[in-house]
């Protein structure tokens, strides 16, 4: 087994004890203390000569329900077998539970000793979250019998274990977009005339009009040539900007979905609806490690978006944020400005729990892009501090609205479809 080997320094100070006992034995002429010093020296020698523990572990992980609904309890069973030919006197194992899955029962860790061929088992339950989550390798710590030297290694399960399914994107939430300045053909009806599906008017035939748009019935009836005109339909590039920073990973209750998870669920629903309307949809995440998916269409694009949402849920709030506060807000705006198509409409999904989010929204609006905000509300009012946080968030959203940016708020238990319907965003 590979991994890093190190001494635990558990007997640090034993050498001083040996010298002290020996010296006091000499000074007080107490021969009985010299063997005590020798005892310490013998233990130090053991610590030097003992070999790092070795062993080969096979890990098998099973879950009771591979594709649970969010909030459903899933039982995880782990079996670790010593397939090597040496006894492992001390084994500590911690399973690689995805950060988005909370352990609700049992423990994902184990301490045991394993003979060759021996197997230890553990079982625990997690609460499923939206999206697909892959278990990480378990961390194993092997020590000798006295625990003075250790080997740390990561152990992969026999099969990669996933819990949950990638978000479905086809039954998403449709909404009318603010801009009508797209340049690509599609299903968003805009002002003007041209080709499309929605009837606009009939005018006199002009040389060069396509034969497919000639009103042949009128020609048969009256003998006149006329051309049918339709409202042109165009698709808009839309970019969903999701606030996945650690500061946004807050929930009204310890067991509740975090605002990041709700933002990603909302983005998922919007992505599906906009894609169904033939819009070209892109995604940007502003959390640990910014991610960018340029606007696009098609199955491969949807697959990439699906993976991005799942990865963002899985990453959770851990990790270094690309801070959006202060100078970071400008950096985030610049980062987006470099990538946003000139005609793109932006929908920001953020709980707006800090001023940086507002700075980013206002910065995007200042770039001349039509911006809308979807804001899951993670605040509660059960303490004075939380009530204050709620008021501060309300003020921030009021500022956003005052700058002409429409905001849809999602209540703690409110479904996104209902929130859009209430706000008049549904079609």
């Amino acid at each position: 087994m590979t991994g890093t080997v190190q001494r635990t320094e558990r007997w640090r100070g034993l050498s001083a004890a040996a010298l002290l006992a020996g010296a006091l034995g000499l000074l007080t002429w107490t021969p009985a203390l010299l063997p005590v010093a020798a005892l310490a020296v013998a233990l130090l020698a053991y610590g030097r000569v003992v070999a790092p523990p070795d062993g080969t572990l096979a890990l098998t992980r099973t879950v009771s329900e591979p594709e649970p609904d969010p909030g459903e309890e899933v039982t995880v069973r782990l079996a670790v077998e010593n397939v090597g030919d040496r006894t492992i006197p001390e084994l500590r194992l911690v399973d690689g539970v995805p950060p988005a899955l909370g352990v609700v029962d049992g423990a994902p860790s184990l301490g045991t000793s394993l003979r060759p061929g021996g197997t230890a088992r553990l079982s625990y339950s997690v609460e499923a979250a939206s999206g697909a989550h892959e278990f990480q390798p378990a961390t194993a710590l092997l020590r000798d019998a006295a625990g003075v030297i250790e080997r740390r290694a990561e152990v992969e399960a026999d099969d990669a274990t996933d819990v949950g399914e990638p978000p479905g994107l086809n039954d998403g939430q449709r909404l009318p977009l603010r801009a009508a300045n797209a340049r690509f053909a599609g299903r968003q009806t805009v002002d003007g005339s041209g080709s499309g599906l929605t009837f606009r008017t009939i005018r006199e035939y002009r040389r060069g009009d396509p034969l497919s748009r000639v009103d042949w019935r009128r020609r048969a009836r009256t003998g006149e040539l006329a051309t049918v005109e339709f409202h042109p339909e165009r698709s808009l590039p839309v970019v969903l900007v999701v606030d996945t920073r650690s500061v946004a990973a807050v929930a009204p209750t310890p067991e509740g979905e975090t605002a990041v998870e709700r933002s990603l669920s909302g983005a998922d629903a919007l992505f599906g609806g906009l894609s169904a309307d033939d819009h070209r949809v892109g995604v940007a995440t502003m959390g640990p490690g910014r991610a960018w998916l340029p606007p696009g269409r098609g199955r491969a694009h949807e697959q990439r978006a699906r993976e991005l949402f799942a990865r963002s849920v899985e990453q959770g709030p851990d990790g270094e944020d690309d801070d959006v506060a202060g100078a970071g807000a400008d950096a985030g705006r610049e980062w987006l400005r470099e990538r946003l198509p000139a005609t793109a409409e932006v929908i920001v999904l953020t709980p707006a729990v800090d001023d940086a989010a507002v700075t980013l929204i206002e910065g995007l609006a200042a770039l001349g892009r039509p911006v809308s905000v979807v804001s899951p509300n993670p605040t509660v009012e059960n303490t004075a501090g939380r009530t204050l946080a709620r008021f501060e968030r309300r003020d921030r959203l009021a500022d956003v609205r005052a700058s002409g940016v429409p905001v849809v708020e999602l209540g703690p238990d409110e479904r996104i479809e209902r929130a859009f319907a209430t706000a008049g965003w549904s079609r």
């Binding site: 050498s15 020798a38 005892l39 130090l44 006197p89 625990g147």
Partner: protein
């Protein structure tokens, strides 16, 4: 199966080893006082999961061993007490470490039992190595004793300061 809290078995074993050390080393008033304070710190640190308290308690018990030696305790008695202190120190710190590093509901009884047995075996083997020379009857020359002392100091220093392999 009765649920045992993580580290509890090791804490009990460490306290037991501390009691053994206290009984063996407490031959005089000073040794008894050192041993009692040490035992209290060791037990409290093991049960509450405080490694520093465990180390402090074992330091007190080591003081009791030294004081007991000066008060006239026998070699086997002192070496046994020293070995018991090492066992208490090591297992007590393991109890604290397990509580800090593993989940409260984790099953660690087998690890704790194996670890306690392993440390006890190593400490007894070391005690055997330390006591064996005292069983031999030799004529000690002053030069020989001096060389032995210098060798012991060099060996101790080398073991403590030798770089990692």
């Amino acid at each position: 199966m009765v649920a045992v809290r993580v580290g509890r078995l090791a804490a009990c074993y460490a306290t037991g080893a501390g009691i053994v050390a206290f009984v063996l080393a407490g031959v005089g008033p000073l040794a008894t006082v050192f041993g009692a304070f040490g035992l209290f710190g060791l037990a409290a640190g093991s049960v509450r999961g405080r490694a520093a308290l465990v180390t402090g308690g074992c330091l007190g018990q080591f003081g009791a061993v030294v004081a007991g030696g000066v008060s006239g305790a026998g070699t086997a008695q002192l070496v046994g007490a020293g070995a018991a202190v090492v066992v208490a120190w090591t297992v007590g710190r393991t109890a604290a470490e397990l509580r800090a590093s593993l989940d409260e509901a984790a099953d660690t009884r087998r690890l704790e039992a194996t670890h306690a047995a392993g440390v006890t075996a190593v400490a007894l083997a070391a005690a055997g190595v330390a006591v064996t020379p005292t069983l031999l009857s030799v004529e000690a020359e002053p030069v020989g004793v001096g060389l032995l002392l210098v060798g012991g100091i060099c060996l101790t220093t080398a073991l403590a300061l030798a770089p990692e392999a």
